[in-house]
């Protein structure tokens, strides 16, 4: 790890105005009352509610055990320790640890119930990644890898099952008998020591979530099952926390789904400093914070702005543009759902042509959105000296690299990430990653990295690596010959369903949307020097 020796602004005295927040009291009295379902009636309108600050990670205390009907069941024998399920889970409900067998045995001695002991022991397996390679190098050094589900956080979306190529996860129907077992097992898991540093290879970005300092979003948020945004937020925090530590991260969130599901009183899933002001001003509130941090000598601290496409492309566009011109070291994560998710799914400038959303309904006369999609990432690129990436959570290495680069970049950085919004896209809960992947492959949402440090010309700076068949118009699946064009993508989502007739033929409007996507892709190819 990099050293964290930084000049510090040491306040010489206590602030005049005390903080009316006693964390222990908050967790016990306030969160306790909410957990018992009596928060509304029993808690008083006192000074702590007047301030309404929430301490970190109170959502950890929230219990969703009896909400979803199913829970993932992990089969260690099929698992290769790829970590993809842990990365993609939007709720931090599936976690992994690597542990030396001796440590595990020692820890299990502390567990009274022999069945629980056995149950936990059987969660761990010998993978090539953490066992064989270590044992080959030095016998006795291998670690056991285990995946555990936190039933209090899991919403049963099955994203992890969908993500697992190794058939190591299945969804299991919850019963009165098995839920307590999951709870017990997870409690033991939590008591186990953190994965030792020797099992976490820094170069292997997928392993970052083995480290505690990466897990800065504890779940327990009120997001929809399978929410694509929550995964993006968790992954951003993982990469930033892994490198810089939670004590160096702050988030300014623009009002939207993200603030509603992460800050509804009294549940806070974040372990980092967080504030929300309004819908359209996150970027400029961040400017104020950055200015103050810099004044205090806190230049090393990482400041992230979160917001949806509504907040960044539309209502907060001028604030974003202003911030990008400030040269300030501020990173922006745009959660691009192509729709105003929070207000119930109205069209944004990021929505696709033809998309059937509220305020651009597909009706008898007008068939969905008539305008083209606004490409916020490309617009950001045209602000001088701004790092820009467009990515998806499905491309986790690409995503992580973008976040790490944005953090390293000493200036404004923007990452526009495709985030599936199940209810508004009309896709199933477990499809977040798969749809994002398809969006990329179909040129609906090409991924790229634009790094001004790479040269003077756009083609030097813009890298389209990560998109399939970068020199072609469309990607053709080699085995099947299937053309993955925008129509192919649209066919899989409810928001475009009305554009297909009973024989599956696309509408004129959808062909226009396809043309729009192709034009956008060709433009990117041209900018990247590929055309």
């Amino acid at each position: 790890m990099a050293e964290r020796e930084f000049p510090k602004f040491a306040p010489t005295h206590e602030p005049k105005q005390p903080l009316m927040l006693d964390i222990e009291d908050f967790n016990r009295r306030i969160v306790g009352a909410y957990n018992r379902g009596v928060g509304e009636t029993e808690l008083e309108a006192d000074l702590s509610t007047a301030e309404s600050f929430i301490p970190p990670a109170t959502a950890k205390l929230r219990d969703f055990s009896y909400i979803a009907p199913e829970i993932p069941l992990y089969d260690p024998s099929n698992c290769i320790g790829c970590m993809e399920c842990v990365i993609e889970c939007p709720d931090t409900a599936i976690l992994a640890k690597v542990i030396h067998p001796d440590t595990l045995e020692r820890e299990l001695q502390k567990v009274d119930d022999p069945m629980v002991r056995e149950m936990v022991r059987a969660r761990f397996g010998k993978t090539r990644k953490y066992w064989d390679t270590y044992e080959r190098k030095e016998p006795g050094s291998g670690g056991l890898f285990g995946i555990f589900i936190d039933p209090t956080k899991c919403k049963g979306c099955a994203e992890c099952v969908e993500q697992c190529d190794d058939f190591a996860l299945s969804m299991l129907t919850k019963t009165e008998k098995n839920v307590p077992l999951f709870q017990k097992a997870f409690r033991v898991f939590e008591s186990l020591p953190e994965t030792p540093a020797e099992y976490i290879k820094e170069a292997l970005l997928t392993d970052m979530m083995l480290a505690e300092r990466s897990l800065l979003y504890v779940g327990g948020a009120g997001s929809c099952a399978g929410c694509g945004e929550a995964t993006a937020i968790r992954m951003m925090l993982a990469a930033t926390g892994f490198k810089y530590g939670p004590e160096n991260i702050g988030i300014v969130a623009a009002t939207g789904c993200n603030t509603v599901y992460t800050s509804t009183y009294p549940y806070n899933p974040y372990k980092v400093a967080w504030t929300n002001s309004l819908f359209e001003n996150a970027a400029t509130v961040a400017m104020g914070i950055r200015a103050r941090w810099d004044q205090m000598g806190w230049k090393h601290k990482k400041l992230w702005v979160l917001g949806g496409d509504g907040a960044m492309n539309d209502i907060g566009f001028q604030a974003l543009s202003r911030m990008l011109m400030s040269g300030m070291d501020i990173n922006v994560l745009i959660l691009d759902t192509q729709v105003y998710s929070n207000t119930g799914g109205q069209a944004s400038t990021s929505s696709y042509t033809g998309q059937n959303t509220k305020m651009s309904y597909h009706g008898r006369e007008i068939h969905g959105k008539t305008e083209r999609r606004k490409e916020i990432a490309q617009i950001c690129m045209m602000h001088p000296d701004v790092f820009v990436a467009q990515t998806t959570c499905a491309d986790f290495n690409h995503f992580y690299k973008a976040v790490l680069a944005a953090n390293e970049y000493e200036g404004p950085a923007v990452i526009n990430v495709y985030t599936t919004c199940q209810p508004e896209h009309g896709v199933a809960d477990e499809r977040a990653s798969q749809q994002a992947k398809l969006a990329k492959e179909s040129r609906a949402f090409p991924i790229f990295i634009y790094d001004p440090r790479n040269g003077e010309t756009i083609r030097e700076r813009l890298d389209l690596k990560g998109n399939p068949a970068v020199k072609e118009d469309w990607y053709v699946v080699p085995k099947t010959g299937e053309v993955i064009d925008f129509i192919a993508f649209a066919r899989t989502e409810g928001r475009f369903a009305k554009h297909f007739d009973k024989d599956g033929n696309p509408s004129e409007e959808l062909l226009k949307a396809q043309e729009d996507r192709l034009k956008n892709w060709r433009l990117l190819q041209e900018l990247a020097g590929l055309r």
Binding site: P11, T12, H13, E14, P15, K16, Q17, L19, L21, G39, E40, L43, E44, A45, D46, L47, T49, A50, E51, S52, F53, I54, P55, P56, P246, E247, N248, I249, G250, T259, S263, T264, Y265, P266, Y270, K271, V272, A273, W274, T275, N276, S277, L278, N281, T284, V285, M287, G288, I289, R290, A291, R292, W293, Q295, M296, Q318, A319, S321, R322, S326
Partner: protein, 654 residues
């Protein structure tokens, strides 16, 4: 030294203030650049001057009283300016912004979140009329009233002294009660009017406001979530529970005013009563026109009228009981407001005062017990800096003592609801000398006016100087005003009585009447390239010549353009230098030298000091060039002899 319209306690105080001249904007910038850590401001007339002022100090590396470098950010809108402030304050910094009119309204959404998070910031407002049927950049109070219910304390200054003092007082109060304040002064009328003030000493500010030690709500080492979402279970609880916090606001502000009085001798109240002891009729209001009303009340008192004035200095927290106490014994009072909302119960200040009286007579605890309510009149005046004159104030009192039925009226427009002034007296302090200059935008007359005011202030006089700003730009006619007196000047209205009229713009005679209000034995200066008095006289239109002769006005002339060209170190300074030459002329023709009992050389020493204050930062060459310009104006100005005037009249008669 006492200060216009401000109650000064007559005892030795630790920090009596530094006598100087400044406009309201400068008074605020002085305080903020000493105590602040940052300003984030977006330009909007009339507050831009404050943002520019703050930025000027930042650009020159000024540090605050605790040695911290200041930060200035200019975002892309007022919404963002307020947002940047919110961010800075969330992270524990002491921050401000400056705004007006639409800017304040655009900030409104952010004002709520700043108040809700308990960020004790102070924003400075040059109050400005809002754009309804048309745009207006001048004073109005509808902008402040539009944000009156955002959870901010609101304090109104009626002059530059108060604007500066309230900057410090609001800051202390805000940081003590944990809620923000708006420090309001009238756009242009106060922001841009140079007055003699007592500037707070840096040591005072250091002691009184204290080192910024605000709670940091955005410290990653102590992470916290602020600005959360609440539903039916908790939102209302949070809102209602804030009553306990807001209950601290009034005591905090009172304490801040008391401590200010202890340290400076300048005593402020939530409600300022002026000559109300036995008053039968009162005028109530906020801002600069109330000081005009105070001066007018003195005039009426001298005539035996029992009239008084109440200035509502603190609009939030609204001092209902204090207002009732101040007004309970009058027969009638009229609330003058710089806005008009015809479909409200009344205009906002009137409505809140009426509600206070309703509470009082209904026996609401905390209110004085009363058995009758005075007749309440309400008037709109001064919208968009429409002039409010002593005559208008007199008309208002007259309306009351005549017991007129109509409860709503307006002032100084031709309208069925308007009150007609019976007369418009000159209520300037005795011995006042006023100048109204006629120039063209961009000729540097604004700077000249300030330079002259600065000289006069340094020479120990009371001054008031301001330009009449239109929204129009360079090259169009402008007028500027300056009054010098031996007493504080409390009228904030256009000058209809002038002793001296410099005319820089030869066309002034053609697009108006530059001799309007010129007093008997007054003086006119004409900028001209002509060097012979006969030619100068011949260039004045006949109608103006008649006035000049009838009123026995003296006429002076000089080619300030030529002198400016000769002394300006660089061509871009020529226009401004013309104004500086005029300063020399002013010193020559005004009674300043007589009052001072100083020699010419002593005068020029003081002039040099003043020039150095103004231009010192641009280098010694500029200072010397300016001094030469003043000297040449003083020495080379020539008069058109009376015989020349009369001779030409006789010729015409022949």
């Amino acid at each position: 030294m006492s200060i216009s319209g401000v109650e000064v306690e007559k005892k030795a105080v630790p920090y009596p203030g530094i006598p100087t001249t400044a406009d309201g904007a400068e008074a605020v910038v002085w305080v903020e650049t000493h105590i602040g850590q940052a300003a984030c401001a977006y330009p909007i007339t009339s507050s831009s001057k404050m943002g520019e002022g703050f930025n000027y100090y930042v650009a020159n590396g000024m540090r605050n009283l605790w040695g911290e470098p200041l930060v200035f950010i200019e975002p892309e809108s007022e919404h963002s300016a307020a947002s940047v402030c919110e961010g800075f304050a969330v992270a524990g910094g002491r921050v401000t912004t400056f705004t007006s009119g639409q800017g304040l309204v655009l900030m409104k959404e952010v004002l709520y979140t700043i108040a809700g998070k308990g960020l004790p910031v102070v924003f400075h407002i040059g109050a400005r009329a809002l754009t309804f049927h048309s745009l207006n950049v001048h004073a109005g109070h509808d902008d402040v009233m539009a944000v009156a219910d955002t959870g901010w304390g609101i304090v109104f200054a009626k002059n530059a002294q108060e604007a500066g003092d309230f900057a410090a007082i609001c800051r202390r109060a805000a940081e003590s009660c944990g809620r923000p304040f708006l420090n309001v002064q009238d756009g242009f009328l106060t922001t841009h009017t140079v007055e003699s003030i007592l500037q707070p000493e840096p040591e005072l500010l250091k002691e009184y406001v204290g080192e910024p030690r605000l709670r940091n709500l955005f410290d990653p080492e102590h992470p916290l979530m602020t600005g959360v979402v609440q539903n039916q279970d908790s939102y209302m609880k949070g809102k209602i529970a804030q009553r306990a916090i807001y209950a601290r606001m009034a005591p905090a502000l009172r304490e801040a005013m008391d401590e200010w009085a202890r340290l400076t001798g300048r005593r402020y109240h939530f409600v300022e009563s002026y000559r109300m002891e036995d008053a039968e009729y009162a005028i109530v209001g906020m801002g600069s026109m109330i000081e005009t009303a105070m001066a007018t009340a003195d005039f009426l008192r001298d005539q035996g009228k029992r009239v008084g004035v109440v200035h509502v200095t603190v609009f939030r927290p609204f001092p209902g009981p204090e207002i009732v106490e101040a007004l309970r014994n009058v027969k009638a009072f009229a609330v003058l407001e710089r806005m008009d909302n015809p479909i409200a119960q009344s205009n906002p200040l009137t409505a809140e005062i009426k509600a206070s009286f309703a509470d009082a007579i209904a026996g609401t605890p905390g209110y004085p017990q009363i058995d009758r309510v005075p007749i309440v009149y309400s008037g709109s005046a001064g919208l968009g800096s429409r002039d409010v004159r002593p005559g208008d104030i007199i008309a208002t009192y007259e309306h009351m003592w005549n017991g007129r039925e109509r409860r709503y009226f307006c002032l100084n427009v031709k309208h069925p609801l308007a009150l007609e002034p019976p007369f418009d007296p000159d209520i300037r302090p005795a011995g006042s000398f006023s100048m109204r200059g006629h120039s063209v935008g961009g000729f540097g007359s604004v700077t000249t006016n300030k330079v002259i005011a600065s000289f006069l202030g340094m020479l120990g006089f009371y001054v008031q100087a301001y330009p009449k700003y239109g929204s129009e730009k360079k090259g169009l006619p402008t007028t500027y005003y300056l009054t010098v007196a031996n007493e504080p000047i409390r009228t904030h209205c256009e000058m209809h009585h002038v002793e001296f009229v410099p005319i820089n713009d030869v066309n002034a005679f053609h697009h108006g009447n530059p001799l309007k209000g010129i007093q008997e034995n007054g003086m006119v200066f004409i900028q001209t390239s002509k060097t012979r008095p006969e030619e100068v006289w011949a260039g004045i239109p006949k109608h103006a010549q008649d006035v000049i002769i009838k009123k026995n006005v003296r006429v002076f002339a000089l080619d300030t353009v030529k002198i400016a060209r000769e002394v300006a170190p660089t061509p871009d300074l020529e226009m401004r230098m013309q104004g500086i030459v005029l300063a020399g002329i002013f010193l020559r023709v005004s009674p300043v030298l007589q009052h001072l009992e100083a020699s010419e050389e002593e005068l020029f020493e003081r002039v040099e000091d003043a020039l150095r204050k103004w231009f010192g930062k641009r280098g010694e060459a500029v200072v010397q060039a300016n001094l030469q310009a003043v000297r040449r104006g003083y020495e080379e100005v020539f008069e058109v002899p009376r015989q020349v005037m009369l001779a030409s009249q006789n010729e015409a008669a022949d």
